[in-house]
């Protein structure tokens, strides 16, 4: 390529295809391609194989814009460190709590699980099995108002000197006002009981979800300030590209990625690895 040169239409289309099929989304993809275009025009020459690297640079830059920081470092800042897990139905909240409990427990922290999904069939049983697997304690629901359970659980968290409290909530559509109000109420109960809590409100996103993940992030963030994200099911073929536009919008750390259904299948988010998977 010569300076000021540009790529041909078919190259741009194949770059667009890479981004869109990774769920990056139309407007974000075009934003990235515009930046790439400008950058290529500035360079003296660009070899075809270098284009992929330039594309990866743009993606990594967009993903690194917000606050960074690992949850592992933060959980030791307050005791008990209260983590509220939220998200729409079936994204992997309960399973992820199981994985986090195992991880923190291995780090020598005393973990308490709170089964505050009092709605869905066998939700409490499901979390109970994870509590066994991770060898941690759990406060079980007896049905009814999740806020009442949370109230009791916070008492227990304080008196028994737990290091980390993981609160599981029922999956809920961000479009259901009454369910989002219920979530706000749960948060208020936690705030009243423990100063500074919840220290984390983490949105769990399903890695196979398309552009709707952006709407989910927006609406959940409106209901309660989110402190981080976890993306699950990236052990499949989905790329989770919608994270890029969510990062532009929210700027909260992406803490972990779920890569399977077992206790150990949770890895810290790494922007380089994530982007390499998008462009491969």
């Amino acid at each position: 390529f010569r300076p000021g040169a540009t790529l041909d239409a078919s190259t741009w289309e194949s770059l667009e295809e890479i981004l869109i099929t990774a769920d990056i989304g139309v407007s974000t993809s075009h934003l990235i391609l515009d930046k790439l275009k400008k950058r290529i025009q500035k360079e003296k020459s660009v070899q075809p194989h270098e284009i992929r690297n330039l594309l990866e640079d743009e993606l990594i830059a967009l993903l690194s814009g917000g606050i960074s920081g690992q949850l592992d470092d933060r959980v030791v800042r307050n005791k008990p460190y209260v983590i509220l897990m939220v998200g729409v139905n079936g994204t992997g909240k309960t399973t992820t709590i199981g994985k986090l409990a195992g991880r923190f427990s291995d780090q020598g922290l005393k973990v308490l699980m709170v089964a505050a999904d009092t709605f869905r069939a066998a939700a409490s049983d499901q979390l109970g099995i994870w509590a066994d697997r991770a060898s941690v304690e759990i406060v079980h629901s007896k049905g009814g108002d999740p806020s009442a359970l949370i109230f009791d659980a916070m008492d227990r968290a304080k008196s028994r000197v737990f290091d980390v409290v993981l609160v599981d909530t029922a999956g809920r559509m961000h479009t259901k006002v009454n369910l989002m109000e219920e979530l706000k109420k749960m948060r208020r109960v936690i705030e009243k009981q423990i100063v500074g809590a919840p220290h984390e409100t983490i949105l769990v996103l399903d890695g196979t979800t398309g552009q709707n993940a952006a709407a989910q992030a927006k609406q959940f963030a409106k209901a309660c300030p989110l402190t981080g994200l976890i993306v699950t099911k990236l052990d499949g073929t989905a790329k989770g590209g919608v994270l890029v536009s969510i990062q532009q919008d929210l700027g909260v750390p992406i803490y972990y990625v779920g890569v399977g259904e077992s206790l150990d299948d949770l890895i810290p988010f790494n922007a380089e690895d994530f982007v390499k998977a998008v462009t491969e």
């Binding site: 099911k233 052990d235 499949g236």
Partner: protein, 294 residues
């Protein structure tokens, strides 16, 4: 915003006294973006727009009094036609029990759908049996048994089969159904990745041994571009009979519907529209077309 893109495309045409081919392809470019934003797969959109372009340029749009409206109609009709004709009902067995098998990725809504189908069948006077063939997910059997208790129908699980083998659980459930006068057996299988060869083989084995009348691919309505990958693999391995799109009570546009239908050619039979067991709707292509286009 999606609906604005679509409306804009036509406003551009509507305002003109005469239009040319470039106006049409420009409008279709906007529609292409609208479909991509709706999560329709990149290649599915490509072939859809190619077909729509062909129809638009071949028809009387260029000479139409209202070219914008004409183009809306072409795109809308093309979408409805692709999404499928009238509602395709579930197949029945000549000799009971009819066997309906739920398959799909993790968390897509299979267990809930199993309960919903049972609820519908009960209303029609049938006697369904719930079969908990998921031995992997913690408390999966308990989840299905809870639905069974709500519906006041039996649930056959590993416990009743005296085995942790999903194939054996499914096989024995048919015997149990016959012995207990249950005329429909609903097999709830574990969520699995389409790239997990062992677990996909497990489904192939269940299909081979039991020959269900109806295999339903249960997909999350919010699925993005990956819908094409999973649907392709599931239909390739199982040649399923129909699709159920769940969680359509959210605000996802549901482009996965077009992707899955285009790639597999199988009918979308139902939409899940909530968590309660009565929230299952028959699929209607016109409504879905409007939703995807915004």
């Amino acid at each position: 915003d999606l609906s604005n893109k679509f409306t804009l495309a036509f406003k551009k045409l509507a305002g003109r006294s005469s239009i040319n081919e470039k106006n049409i392809t420009d409008a279709l470019r906007d529609i292409r973006l609208a479909l991509l934003e709706a999560d329709v797969h990149f290649s599915v959109v490509k072939s859809f727009i190619d077909k729509a372009t062909e129809k638009a340029l071949g028809q009387e749009v260029l000479r139409s009094v209202s070219p914008g409206e004409q183009l809306v109609k072409i795109v809308h009709d093309e979408l409805i036609e692709t999404l499928g004709g009238e509602h395709a009902p579930l197949q029945h067995a000549a000799i009971p029990p009819t066997v309906i098998m739920m398959v799909g990725l993790q968390g897509s809504g299979k267990t809930t759908l199993t309960g919903k189908l049972a609820h519908q069948l009960i209303k029609k006077g049938r006697k369904p049996l719930l079969v908990a063939a998921d031995v992997y997910r913690p408390a999966a059997a308990e989840q299905l048994k809870t639905l069974g208790r709500q519906l006041e129908i039996p649930t056959f699980s590993a416990e009743e089969a005296g085995s942790q083998d999903p194939v054996k659980i499914c096989f024995d459930s048919i015997t149990y159904a016959r012995q207990h006068g249950r005329d429909v057996a609903l097999l709830d299988t574990a969520g699995r990745l389409h790239i997990d060869d062992d677990l996909m083989k497990e489904l192939e084995t269940i299909k081979a041994k039991i020959k269900p009348q109806e295999i339903l691919f249960v997909a999350d309505g919010m699925t993005g571009q990956d819908a094409v990958n999973t649907a392709k693999e599931f239909v390739g391995r199982l040649d399923f009979h129909g699709v159920v799109l769940t969680k359509m009570d959210g605000d996802a546009r549901g482009g996965a519907a077009l992707s899955i239908r285009s790639i597999t050619g199988k009918p979308i039979k139902y939409l899940g529209t909530g968590e309660k067991l009565d929230l299952l709707e028959e699929f209607h292509p016109e409504r879905m077309a409007s939703r995807i286009l915004g």
